[in-house]
């Protein structure tokens, strides 16, 4: 998902950065988060920040994942539970509205599915090889409560 044309999210594989010699590496393995000064970065959305090549935002680790969460907009109630619980800040939400999954950084842990309160769930885990359209087409229906 690219929210803006200049978004640098996951633009290359982790480890594909340019390799430099010992004389050019940073002192003390310091990694600058942004290119140049960035006084107001806390007030900018991720896709608006000028992330440095050595910030993990610009690297994709999608290949680490074997199962993925698929998001169903038709059922979601925008409760933000998944956004709060995701350990990799891989739930993209703007103005309290859920937009989708950051598949460049999601590791497929499934926490978002566990904490989703809707019936049926608005997020479900699928094998990485299944297309999202196919997953959505076969989405389960609401489970009825058993009568006493």
């Amino acid at each position: 998902m690219s929210l803006q044309g200049n978004d640098k999210r996951g633009i290359r594989e982790l480890g594909a950065e340019e390799k430099v010699g010992w004389d050019e590496v940073t002192q003390g393995v310091v990694l600058n988060s942004f290119v140049g000064e960035s006084e107001n970065s806390a007030f900018l959305k991720a896709e608006e920040r000028n992330y440095n090549d050595f910030n993990s935002y610009t690297a994709t680790v999608a290949s680490w994942r074997i199962i993925k969460p698929v998001y169903n907009r038709d059922i979601c109630i925008d409760c933000q539970n998944c956004w709060v619980w995701c350990p990799d800040t891989s739930i993209i939400s703007r103005d309290k509205q859920m937009l989708g999954i950051d598949y460049d950084h999601c590791k497929g842990c499934g926490v978002c599915v566990e904490v989703c309160p809707t019936n049926p769930k608005s997020l479900l885990m699928f094998n990485e090889t299944i297309e999202n359209e196919d997953a959505l087409a076969g989405w389960p229906v609401k489970e009825k409560k058993e009568k006493k």
């Binding site: 480890g15 390799k19 430099v20 010699g21 010992w22 004389d23 590496v25 002192q27 003390g28 393995v29 310091v30 990694l31 600058n32 988060s33 942004f34 000064e37 960035s38 006084e39 970065s41 050595f54 910030n55």
Partner: protein, 414 residues
């Protein structure tokens, strides 16, 4: 604003008190410390200065030495001047974080009061902890008495914080023989000492919100090697900065320090290489044996353990044209090898034209006394090697050890 401390021209201080006064005068931002014998009075004294208004910085009491050095790393990465003190088992517990501090290029000052490592548990002074730190990437400077235990921390801040160095620095002194021995010390007044060190200038500090940085990143085989090489070069190149700071200190105080101290080496036939408070014992023995026996003995005392002064050791050997035998004295259990000084000095000597005999003595472990008569016996033994034309004993021997004579390896050099 911190209160000034009134100091006399000459004070009677032990090594611990001298070090704590130096730390106070540096106006450190954060000291995170955990007490351990025999270095406890350094941070105890520092804590009193904080409580009595002589220091503006923070004093953090932590739950272990690992936490103490971790707190120091955090505070230094945040952008503050940072120091602490430890000994022995506490030093051992810090080791993991010592490597972090040097790799992160944080100019922390650690005053180490040297003490033996268990087992058996022992609180007395030997150089086991100092030796344990020698691959940690820190600059290691050794004080031989109380005056130096005061002077060298002042130099340590200035060396480590130099923009071309930015490495942590240990200042060592011997447990009890230096740390608890009161001697005359000429301190600097607070302003003079502080101005010598200068204001702390942070680099890539985490509290600079205009330029957010990550400290302590993980790197694997694709980056780690380059970073370690860059770090090693900075440590090797720190030699010139150490020399420069020592020269500036001499200009200010008249007290001269060198990365290798030499005594009576000009005409020496025999040299003793030795560290710490034992240097003064060896110098006294050399003076006596020159008078008593006419045996020309000189002393080589590395002030700097890391970066090891191969350059100045070679100079000391080359410049002594009569030198025929060197005895390297290591006050640390060698753990299946020759002592550290033997190994380093042999490596330095091997690439000179003069090839003196080199032998190794282990001595003083766990604070075992090292008396002048024993030093003189060792000096005479070196003379016997020279007269015989070969090393007449085992290459590694043990001084002051009860039981049958213990030694390892004979020379194969004819």
């Amino acid at each position: 604003m911190a209160e000034k401390f009134e100091l006399n021209e000459v004070e009677v201080w032990d090594g611990n008190y001298a070090a704590s006064q130096a730390l106070r005068q540096a106006q450190i931002d954060v000291v995170a410390a955990y007490p351990i014998t025999p270095s406890t009075p350094i941070v105890e004294g520092y804590g009193a200065y904080v409580a009595n208004g002589f220091v503006d910085g923070e004093f953090v009491m932590v739950e272990s030495e690992h936490a103490a050095m971790s707190g120091c790393v955090g505070a230094a990465a945040a952008g503050g001047r940072v120091a602490t003190a430890t000994s022995s088992q506490g030093f051992a517990l810090m080791v993991e974080v010592l490597y972090q501090a040097s790799g992160m290029r944080l100019p922390i000052v650690l005053t180490v009061v040297n003490r033996a490592l268990a087992s058996p548990l022992n609180v007395r002074g030997d150089h086991s902890d100092m030796y344990l730190g020698r691959d940690s990437g820190w600059i290691q400077i050794d004080a031989f008495n109380s005056q130096e235990a005061y002077d060298l921390p002042l130099c340590a801040f200035k060396i480590g914080e130099d923009m071309s160095v930015r490495l942590p620095v240990m200042v060592h002194q011997d447990g009890f023989t230096t740390s608890h021995k009161a001697q005359n010390v000429n301190p600097l007044q607070d302003d003079v000492a502080y101005n010598f060190i200068g204001d702390y200038v942070p680099v890539d500090e985490m509290l600079d919100f205009t330029r957010p940085v990550t400290h302590g990143a993980q790197t694997e085989e694709d980056w780690h090697y380059e970073h370690k090489a860059k770090q090693h070069k900075a440590l090797m190149d720190s030699r010139s900065v150490i020399d420069k700071v020592f020269a500036e200190f001499k200009e200010l105080t008249g007290r001269e320090y060198k990365r290798v101290e030499t005594y009576m080496m000009e005409d020496a036939e025999v040299a003793i290489v030795i560290l710490g408070s034992s240097v003064e014992t060896a110098v006294l023995a050399a003076k006596q044996i020159r008078e008593e026996e006419g045996l020309k003995v000189g002393i080589i005392a590395p002030r700097c353990i890391r970066p090891f002064p191969y350059d100045l050791i070679r100079d000391a050997i080359d410049d002594a044209s009569n030198l025929k035998a060197i005895c390297c004295m290591d006050k640390s259990a060698p753990g299946g090898a020759m002592g550290m000084l033997f190994n380093e000095v042999s490596a330095a000597a091997y690439t000179t034209d003069t090839r003196p005999f080199i032998t190794n003595y282990i001595y003083g472990l766990g604070g075992r006394d090292f008396a002048i008569d024993e030093v003189k016996r060792i000096m005479k033994e070196q003379k016997a090697h020279i007269d015989a034309g070969h090393i007449t004993t085992n290459i590694q021997q043990f001084s002051g050890l009860r039981g049958p004579k213990l030694g390892f390896y004979e020379t194969r050099r004819s």
